[in-house]
């Protein structure tokens, strides 16, 4: 068997091991590679930054155990950004597991806030918890909060929450921040909140979903988008609040470089084999 054949029939476990090393190396030995801010992230940041003090935003937390490491740091920064600007946040999740991770992001952001930043539960933010029903659940919530849920995440009755006094539908909100992760739920926010109520929306999705949602940005229906760990890292960078995402983005670069090298090598070897007349 020729070297070309051997390389083309390389055991996939060796490739996994190489990828493991390429991803672990920058985590153990932090390396900084140049990073350009993507247009979508800049747009999302500019939009978030333009939300005036005193506004109330509705915030969907759709990150799960798998996607929290990549989107969580960005979500934490977004919550930090809003609360330090004096913007009040109304959180909810349409996934059961996501409900827990949304609370984790809120707690992490609260710990990072500078001393004296107003962040009282029920006054500056509220977590409505899990909303069942997917898109229909979102539609129901933003049309009649009190008919959809009785109490928030902490079992506080909705009528006892000062932040929701006089708010019973989406007209009470100034912006939508949709951190959908890999839920694929961004269109729910566009279809059920942004379009019918005319409220601008931005948010985050995992890297693989960026091509699905970028047409909404071109159409002006989405103000911007943070994509995956890179989006989170860019948010940390733009807000000058370094966190775990920057290090993870570097690891993605290393993995990406190895992947590209292997795709190139595979193609070259394939052509060499064909030129030799081997199948």
């Amino acid at each position: 068997m020729s070297i070309t054949d051997r390389l083309l029939k390389l055991d996939q476990r060796i490739i996994y091991a190489l990828m493991f090393i390429a991803l672990a190396f920058p985590i153990l030995n932090p390396v900084v590679l140049p990073m350009a801010i993507q247009g979508y992230s800049q747009d999302a940041f500019d939009f978030s930054d333009s939300i005036p003090e005193g506004s109330i935003v509705i915030f969907e937390g759709g990150l799960g155990a798998a996607t929290y490491p990549q989107g969580g740091p960005g979500m934490v920064v977004q919550i930090y950004h809003m609360l330090t600007k004096g913007v009040k946040c109304v959180f909810f999740s349409i996934g059961t597991e996501q409900n827990f991770w949304t609370m984790t992001a809120i707690e992490t952001a609260l710990k990072k806030l500078p001393a004296g930043t107003p962040a009282v539960n029920g006054v500056d933010w509220v977590h409505l918890g899990y909303i069942a029903g997917g898109e229909a659940g979102v539609g129901s919530l933003v049309n009649d909060i009190r008919a959809t849920i009785e109490a928030d995440y902490f079992d506080t009755p909705i009528d006892d929450i000062p932040l929701l006094e006089g708010i019973n539908d989406a007209t009470g909100f100034d912006a939508v921040l949709w951190w959908g992760g890999s839920e694929g739920s961004m269109p729910y926010g566009i279809r059920q909140i942004s379009v019918p109520f005319g409220i601008p929306i931005t948010g985050m999705c995992t890297t693989n979903e960026v091509p699905n949602f970028s047409p909404y940005i071109s159409a002006g229906q989405l103000q911007g988008l943070f994509g995956g760990v890179r989006g989170s890292a860019e948010y940390e960078f733009l807000l000058k609040l370094p966190g775990p995402a920057l290090g993870q983005a570097m690891a993605t670069n290393f993995g990406g470089l190895l992947w590209m090298a292997m795709v190139l090598l595979g193609n070259i070897l394939y052509f060499v084999q064909r030129m030799k007349g081997e199948s």
């Binding site: 476990r13 909303i131 009785e150 071109s218 229906q221 993870q248």
Partner: protein, 225 residues
């Protein structure tokens, strides 16, 4: 040892067990899969039960009788458990699909159809805009299966295919990146300086156990490609 470290240690052990499936199916990966499914299933059940209790049963107890319809429909779904009563579960499914479709459709035309067409009507004053217009039209034209691939349409079809292949390439690249990010998320936790030594120890223990299993043929070796 505080709860955070304990969580990191459990996460590390379970992650190594899950990733060991890359070597081949083995008892560690199976145990991890089953633990994950069990915990997730239980958590989803409890969270949904809590939602139903608070927002349907609670309201019904407060005298809001309309929620009895929702509860009856929910119970009818359980008809799926016995083939004889499968038909009963079709009614709540019809209602759910109908409501979902109706709610989505009221703005789908604006959000997913008109908005996207408007976004394509761009002035031809930049390369980006030209690519966007030609790409959208030719890619859409590629799916006209009733036309013969001859004359001008042959070139339109080919151009559409090229744009679609570019889009698939982007989607593939993004998917690879997403999968790597999933691994990185776990690696960051596993290689946290507070638990890194334990992670290395877990890897060693599982590797030795698997090697013993393969050597003694107690675990079947997956030969790969």
């Amino acid at each position: 040892m505080d709860a955070e470290i304990l969580g990191l240690l459990a996460g590390s052990l379970v992650s190594i067990g899950a990733y060991s499936v890359l070597i081949g199916d083995n008892p560690f990966s199976k145990i991890t899969e089953n633990i994950y499914m069990g915990i997730l299933g239980g958590y989803i059940f409890v969270t949904n039960w809590d939602f139903i209790q608070k927002n349907a049963i609670g309201k019904l107890m407060n005298g809001d009788l309309v929620y009895i319809i929702a509860l009856v429909l929910a119970l009818m779904l359980l008809g799926r458990l016995k083939p004889k009563y499968l038909w009963v579960s079709r009614y709540p499914v019809v209602v759910t699909v109908g409501v979902g479709l109706g709610m989505a459709m009221r703005t789908t035309v604006t959000a997913d159809f008109l908005g996207q067409i408007q976004a394509t009507l761009l002035p031809w004053n930049s390369l980006n805009n030209i690519v966007m217009v030609i790409g959208t039209i030719t890619a859409a034209a590629y799916f006209i299966f009733t036309a013969q691939k001859s004359g001008v349409y042959k070139y339109v079809n080919t151009a559409g295919r090229v744009f679609l292949l570019c889009a698939f390439g982007v989607a593939y690249g993004q998917t690879v990146s997403f999968r790597m990010e999933l691994v990185i998320g776990r690696l960051v936790a596993m290689l946290d300086p507070r638990v890194a030594m334990y992670t290395y120890a877990f890897i060693l223990i599982i590797a030795v156990a698997l090697a013993y299993g393969y050597k003694t043929k107690k675990i079947e070796w997956y030969s790969g490609r």
